[in-house]
Symmetry: C2
Subunit: 355 residues, 2 copies
Amino acid sequence: MSRRVTQRDIARMTGVSQATVSLVLNNRTGDDVRIAPETRQRVLDAIRATGYVADPVARRLVSGRNRILGVFTYEPVFPSTAADFYHPFLVGIEQRAEQLGCDLLLFTSSSQLAGEGGAGRRRIFHADSRIGIADGTILLGRRVDRDDLVRLVGEGHAFVSVGRRDDAGGPVPYVGADYPAAVAALVERARELGHTRIGYLGTGGPAESHADRLRGFRPTGDAGEGDDGTAGDDEGCRLHLPPPADGWPAAIERERLTAVFLEEHADAAALVAAARARGWSVPGDLSVVALGEPSGTGPLDEALTRLRIPRREMGWQAVEQLTAAIEGGAGPAVQRLLPCTVHAGTTLGPPRGTP
Amino acid sequence: MSRRVTQRDIARMTGVSQATVSLVLNNRTGDDVRIAPETRQRVLDAIRATGYVADPVARRLVSGRNRILGVFTYEPVFPSTAADFYHPFLVGIEQRAEQLGCDLLLFTSSSQLAGEGGAGRRRIFHADSRIGIADGTILLGRRVDRDDLVRLVGEGHAFVSVGRRDDAGGPVPYVGADYPAAVAALVERARELGHTRIGYLGTGGPAESHADRLRGFRPTGDAGEGDDGTAGDDEGCRLHLPPPADGWPAAIERERLTAVFLEEHADAAALVAAARARGWSVPGDLSVVALGEPSGTGPLDEALTRLRIPRREMGWQAVEQLTAAIEGGAGPAVQRLLPCTVHAGTTLGPPRGTP
DNA sequence: AGAGCTTGCTGATACGCATTAGCGCTGGAT
DNA sequence: ATCCAGCGCTAATGCGTATCAGCAAGCTCT
């Protein structure tokens, strides 16, 4: 209907200039800015009467600040699986954003206009990108497009990745989970329990989070890896296995494993089921440890011994770090790893024949 | 670091004016606007080289459009309960927004700056409201602040409510669920099964969605309601009960009910449990119908006969309607109700003694 | 009385973009 | 030689706000 009220309108109503209205609004009081109490009151009355609210767009054009934080994900933000993996991150993000008085801009549009490259794949930068509206952006997702990342690092746009990222033309600011330490601690625990041959079943995925888990499992690196991707013994107990063609149980027998670590929770659950179907007891005959959280809900969610990723906290810290970066200007990229904990579960125990 | 690239920069690089850059960018070609192919190419090359992206803020200031849709909720958008009631709405909203190339702005900040009134309560309008950034806004929540609603209706800001709302100084545009029809259908079904005394346990909440359910249960209105809130017989079978002081089972015996409808899923689940604890069979001795969806997960989620609210569809349609309103200008408020379906479950059946 | 200070405000400008009137130029028609 | 049409572009303007230099008026002090 009626055009929205502007400062000019208020100014005309009260017989002052637009500048005065702006000064009153922003409560500016200094040596070079003085407004008579009476005038101030007149303006304030008019503002209240009209319900004037400053146009955030124009305000941003001038000041360069918005108190809007972007959230970019390479998958839908609200996934169809209700109890989704990403959900806790978002809870933390929203919580901190609310405390800081920031709004969240979800870049849901990005997949549509990505004319080049993969059809429908989400991209941060495209012709109609609204990324510039946000003061800074949080990146969420297992994998982040490398070109996007390089460009983000290169340009001034403030951003923080949730999850560690390799350098992309420069260090990438992130809040990650300390997978290496957590996995190493789990290995140590397994050895204390008496396990001497522990298998690691990865996904072969390129994501940093996967590589980090493997680093924790086998801190000495890739030395000893055979042509088939099978790693040789490492400290006499660690085996990095490729996805076995004849099924996991067969591979476990072949390698005489007493414990298996699996990157994916779903794989771990499947292994427990397969093992029990074969008549093996878990953890008696085989210990199983998941290095990730369940997505969705399954019968083994509580039972499985697994890593617990501080997802809510990571989201919270990411917002914290992002706003700090926005306030403080472009310092060096902050990279922080938060410690994981362990969900004890019941699938890690001493191997049979241990006192 | 480096200031972001502007059209002026491109213009200087290519030896044209800022206006020309704008014209090339927007692919303007008309009778009064002509750019030599060579010049156009030079500009396009520079744009590609610098990776220029138009500042969405400035663009908006001119054009008044953003392709940003606001989402306002009176509760946190990402609730701690994973399988939350609001989640499906958001899934639908995101889905349609993505298809339409729109981004979503979540007004998470609103609770902080609400100095007056309830401390921490979310408000749409406050001094630092960023609602103006969005082209339009979707309202989500069981209850919507009435002052906010009146103001939204009064001002030009486009919006659509998810869920029916009573008039607020004018008709409120919404996409709701047709509770009256759905509840009436369930009553009909119960009567066909042979139930002659059906109770309705409401929450007494003021929300429109609750009132609508009751309207479906008792289409004749409030006639016959006693001082204690107990409604008299209506067509010989419908009873609107207040929360009974002596517990539901007692009230059921007292009123000789064979079926009970409950607004809240959780209440219905509790009633089933209480009934079975008393040795009643469900639905043999008592049929129980929930008029809402479970929030969270419980053992009776599948078993309970209940209303199924087309939440995803409602979110989807709300975005659809909102964008239509934005494009088409301010027409009359569109109000649409989507049909509910029924989750069959096993807690509604013929009462004992029916052939 | 004039200088100098304080008070209370305004005018101008910039932010980055879209839009439009219109200018200078060229070449063909009259 | 003059006129005009078509072409290719630019200058100017506005969107709504924040900021700041500076102006006019009144006051104090010498």
